[in-house]
Symmetry: C2
Subunit: 734 residues, 2 copies
């Protein structure tokens, strides 16, 4: 059995795209010595074996995602990529033969097929319903092709280059510039696909297109993609892979579409970057923008909960996580190329597999040889915008609690109207949830697995988020174009061991309304878990109607208020998402506080909010106007107020436990006995908090002067309070 | 440090109730050698240590379950029981002193308090709101007392006997015969409590009361308990512990109230039995009724799902499981006294702790020394009724699937109107759920942790169950007394490796209506999981309205029928549970089949039912008329038919998978292409099932002749079908 008969005339020996001759030789000598790598090789062998047993299946394209032809072509490219690596590692020719025969079958079919019959994409593919998936195919298949390139006879190689790969690359680029020439995750895949096959075939024209974009106008009839995203960004002058890196990421590695799409986008970014590092070292791609691609991997890791699942901001299916194949590749690569950070090893270990390349081998060796310490998650602000000046997301972590507040850019076509919205997790999962997207990805029952219409009518709307809705309308009137013109405005971010604070402003979401939300996670000796303080201030005309929703996760237990339930349910409105909400029960709020306690994951949770005269509360349920049961029947609480300038002041507690086998509840009541607004104005917000124990705490915050040196003084019902710096959190009694 | 100063005049040396001198000596010599036992000792030490640090707290009784005084007295008896064992095992006097001081504090308080101030129980306790909890206290405290009995000076012993224990025992017996003299789990606790303290004090009168009941009439004003259960069973002539064993269990060890209450009841049965075995071996209690108490433990184990959670039939909080302290005691005891069955060791191992007595030591040694094999769960019918002739529950197990059908007695005050209802599990959890009880046990937010009014108005009603509702009313018109007069009628139960069948009749739940349900779990080569066949036949007058609900667990994915959703929701009725259901959507059924697919736990499930002309389907949601949010918002499907004699024929499939990290669905569609009723009559039901592959299966069943020898012949649209025996399941094509 032989491999790598080098007949190429290009001066470099294949494989040299992702695998290298030197790397392959190290892999071979390491076999049997590095458990995680061996295990990944074994899994790849089994996966390829069962595909090979099926034989070569290259069906005429017909189905959408989830359907047979779609899933078959997808399985083919995964199998080919793995087979290529196995050919190199084991030298067994059966793998090369499998790839060759598969590619010849594709080469035979390619000229015979036109565009995919499904017409729903702005950029229809040929093998798949959208070019995006065709590009996926090419990114993986290029790697397989590289692995057998030198093994193939020249005639076959010339045939494949000419009849399959060059036309394929042209299809996803010059024939679909509305797909290829965007600044968008779709195009990153397109760029990587064309660039990688160009590198394999030594086709410099393709590599140039990939790196720098096409010198082509996108035809005027392509203006938006299927998600309402603009094809051409305002003022966009560049395209191609380098422009993607420039425009897609902030200097902190944040990706404006959010972590779900960043996860998806990372694979082509990183795999093409690896190929460029191998074949065009002079480009210095891994140092580009101060090593931005590695930073982006860290940004992704920081955007996960305790289960390693990404925060579902913007369009995002919940459950996508560090376990995905994209992150398996990304984290090992960040380890290998980013200085072998031992903090990454705990993630690699929990992933339980490594990519079969130099990075994967290095990572597997790290897991085997080093002490695996937990990744040091900490409070962090990730700026948005190419130069880091367009908003951010703030992540507060204290003990087992994670809070995320979003005041970033809109997030393009996949953005949600969720400025100043927040999500809260404990180590068991969601406490206050974002709905995520209304979509069951790839599940054919649900409109072919694509975005459901409720994604627009519900999931993106402001009322679907834990943020303030003004006059029953979504931010920016629900218009992406308007939302894209500005971002949230970071105001303050700080983390000490016991007090973590984020504050941001949103001046443009509503006309004549200034919003600012300040959230603090404070560690209080008397409480089991850190406490969340939420101060949402609005400067608005008198008579403004505010709805502040709270999508708590779990079963409603009790409230201190008298709710009156509805015996007939009607949708709460006709638009802006209200049409999807049932009002199950409501209360005209009495006394000083609104308090509700819920139960989830064998724990209790309580939200306590200060009431103003005339406030109402509504207990809601998602599911109205949902004929196909596309939405989860999740509960919510809306705090409603009619007012001018105002402050919504709340605290959220995690407390107690319940065990089904002992049936013993612990600490099932709130520890908060009083919550008072001491001061509210355009410049300051101040609250006082008293526990059942009598212990009292004050949190005071300067809304407009963020100087650390400034001295502040406010008058309150408790007398004058003075402090210096942006905030003060102190214990005033017991 | 010394223990066991034997000053007793009764000829036997303490401890001799649950611990014995011989057992204690073996425990001491085993310390450090049996990991699970050592670990349980260590846990007990820590638990007692933290209680001892709190000091002696014996508050004046005031609160309900979940409240301070209730939980304090409960913690006290657990701590004393453990401290007693630790005193014996370690010889450390601090444990004895702790118990003595605690008991003296109780002795001081006892004469000063009257009945507990809460008035909600038919049998108010003194320390607790109900005698039941007072009896719990005494069952545990007797054990502690036994452990220090010989250590105490005589004066203290005489004081405690006279001023605390004898009056206490009288209170829960002669002063509350409506509590003590029933055949009911409450009374089992009462009997054990009085008997155990009698054994400790050598008070034969108390032991007699405990074993044989009181020779006392229950006052005529006590007729029902708080749950509507009768105080005196019809024709009840006996009371006391032996009568409890006679009447509470069937010969198969099934307990008519169901496993949730059986679990609760087992502790006093087994702990008192252990005490009797030690002190009154002449009674042969462990051989009583052919070793019934051990059989009862096996019956409990057989009534669990893959997570070890009990089937929530009747009033039962979901999640109660083999992990409970009652089962920790019970399983070890069954191991020790029942012949050291190695099958039990897997359960003991997963419990992770053992009781600190002879049984626990033996079980821990078993786990340490033997190969731990999985408990051999298999299909089993557990008969109900003292002589096994009053109905049964049928449990079908095939691979990872578990089906339970209930055709037992009503279950007394905690019974549900659920004749012929079923539950379905796979290894991940619930597939078709029973609601369980409407109660949050001990959670004070929810009406003090007791039964909620929705337990009566919803959870017990027939429409809350997966069984046939006739003319919108519950079985027996929702009347416990009527339901108690008869049981379901077992017709056929059979299990081969690939076909498991249960069939039962219910002739009395509705006037002029005969119901029979036949369920089969069949292993079909073409399918991933066993398939469930459900044939529900009814002989009823023309014009009868049938509703057959299916409480599927998960998210609705799709249906082959056109449902039309309601934009306003109204309760589906005014009584019998319908008042708690919203109709979210409905369909007039077209064509041959009703099919719905749902998704849960990363799997797909499909129910396929044969349609008759005029059938309707309603997609429901629990939650109407639920002002305090006491009910879960769970979905259901109601198949509605107006007809005379009829057959509801369905199959339930478990199929495919979905992974959030790969977003790849597998086998997400049903494999059933046709389902046809070949024959329906008073005597036979026959269906044919065709898979997408073309493979065809027939299931034919004789409804009235259960002889294995009979030959049957029916005419169908497919010609004559003949078979012998009760059923035939065959492949007829491909
Ligand atoms: Ca508007
Ligand atoms: Ca709008
Ligand atoms: Ca009724
Ligand atoms: Mg898009
Ligand atoms: Mg969102
Ligand atoms: Mg009862
Ligand atoms: Mg029930």
């Amino acid at each position: 059995v032989s491999c790598a008969k080098n007949e190429a005339g290009n001066g470099l020996q294949h494989p040299n795209l992702i695998l290298t001759a030197q790397g392959v030789s190290l892999m071979r000598s390491s076999l049997g010595k590095v458990p995680l790598f061996d295990q990944s090789v074994e899994e790849a062998k089994q996966a390829v074996q069962s595909e090979m047993e099926l034989g070569i299946e290259v069906p005429i394209p017909k189905d959408l995602a989830g359907g047979y032809t779609h899933e078959r072509h997808k399985a083919n490219y995964f199998a080919m990529q793995k087979a290529g690596v196995l050919f190199q590692i084991t030298g067994e020719e059966k793998y090369a033969i499998y790839i060759r025969d598969m590619l010849l079958a594709y080469a035979e079919m390619w000229p015979t097929i036109g565009k995919h019959p499904a017409e729903r994409s702005y950029a229809r593919g040929k093998l798949f319903w959208q070019c995006l998936n065709d590009a996926n195919w090419l990114v993986y298949t290029s790697q397989a092709y590289d692995c057998i390139y030198d093994w193939l006879d020249e005639e076959t190689r010339i045939k494949l280059n000419k009849e399959l790969f060059r036309p394929y690359a042209e299809y996803v680029s010059v024939e679909n510039p509305q797909f290829f020439n965007r600044i968008h995750n779709h195009s990153t895949w397109g760029n990587a696909a064309v660039g990688m096959i160009g590198l394999v075939m030594n086709d410099e024209e393709l590599v140039d297109w990939a790196l720098y974009g096409l010198d082509l106008e996108v035809p005027g009839d392509f203006v938006k993609d299927n998600d309402g995203g603009a094809i051409q960004l305002e003022g966009q002058k560049e395209a191609g892979f380098l422009a993607q890196i420039d425009h897609s990421f902030s200097p902190d590695g944040y990706y404006t579409e959010g972590p779900y799409y960043q996860r998806y986008a990372m694979y082509p970014f990183l795999i093409f970057a690896q190929a460029l590092a191998n074949k065009k070292p002079e480009l210095g791609i891994l140092n580009y923008r101060n090593g931005l691609l590695t930073k982006a991997v860290y940004a992704l890791i920081n955007q996960t909960n305790a289960q390693g699942e990404f925060f579902p901001i913007n369009d995002a299916q919940k459950g996508m996580s560090l376990a995905s194949r994209e992150l398996v590749n990304a984290v090992s690569m960040a380890y290998h190329y980013g200085g072998q950070d031992a903090g990454l090893l705990s993630i690699i270990k929990s992933q339980g597999r490594v990519p079969l390349n130099d990075s994967g081998l290095d990572a597997a060796k790290g897991v085997a040889d080093q002490e695996v310490v937990k990744f040091p998650y900490k409070s962090i602000e990730l700026r948005d915008g190419a130069d880091g000046t367009e908003g951010a997301i703030g992540i507060l972590r204290s003990k087992s609690l994670t809070l995320v507040m979003k005041y970033a850019k809109h997030g393009m076509g996949h953005g949600h109207f969720d400025r100043l919205g927040f999500l809260l997790y404990d180590e068991k999962g969601e406490v206050i949830q974002d709905y995520g997207s209304a979509r069951w990805v790839n599940i054919e029952h649900k409109d072919g697995g694509g975005y459901l219409k409720e994604n627009h009518s519900w999931a993106k709307e402001t009322i679907a988020h834990n943020t303030l809705v003004v006059n029953k309308d979504s931010h920016f009137d629900g218009k992406v174009d308007e939302a894209e013109k500005s971002s949230g405005v970071p105001y303050f971010f700080s983390a000490t061991p016991s007090v973590h604070v984020v504050s941001a402003k949103e001046p443009k979401a509503y006309k004549d309304v200034e919003l600012q939300r300040t959230m603090a996670v404070v560690d209080i000796a008397e409480l089991e878990h850190p406490l969340v303080i939420d101060l949402f201030s609005a400067q608005a005309p008198v008579g403004t109607r505010f709805d502040l929703p709270l999508y708590y996760k779990g079963e409603f237990m009790a409230s201190n208020q008298q709710f009156s339930a509805n015996n007939n349910l009607a949708p709460m409105g006709e638009e802006s998402g209200y049409q999807h909400l049932w009002a199950e029960s409501q209360a005209k709020l009495k006394n000083d506080l609104l308090q509700i306690t819920w139960f989830n994951n064998q724990r209790f949770y309580t939200a306590t909010s200060v009431i103003e005269d005339g406030d109402e509360a509504i207990l809601t349920r998602i599911g109205a106007n949902d004929p196909n049961f596309n939405l989860r029947r999740d509960p919510g609480l809306i705090h409603r107020r009619k007012s001018g300038n105002t402050l919504f002041a709340s605290v959220y507690e995690i407390h107690g436990s319940y065990d089904y086998a002992t049936e013993r509840p612990l600490n099932l009541f709130s520890s908060i006995s009083h919550l008072t607004v001491l001061h509210q104005s355009a410049d300051y917000a101040a609250i006082e908090l008293t526990l059942e124990s009598g212990a009292t705490y004050q949190f005071t915050f300067s809304l407009n002067d963020d100087s650390k040196a400034s001295n502040h003084s406010i008058s309150t019902s408790k007398g004058k309070i003075e402090w210096s710096g942006v905030y003060q959190f102190i214990k005033t009694e017991k």
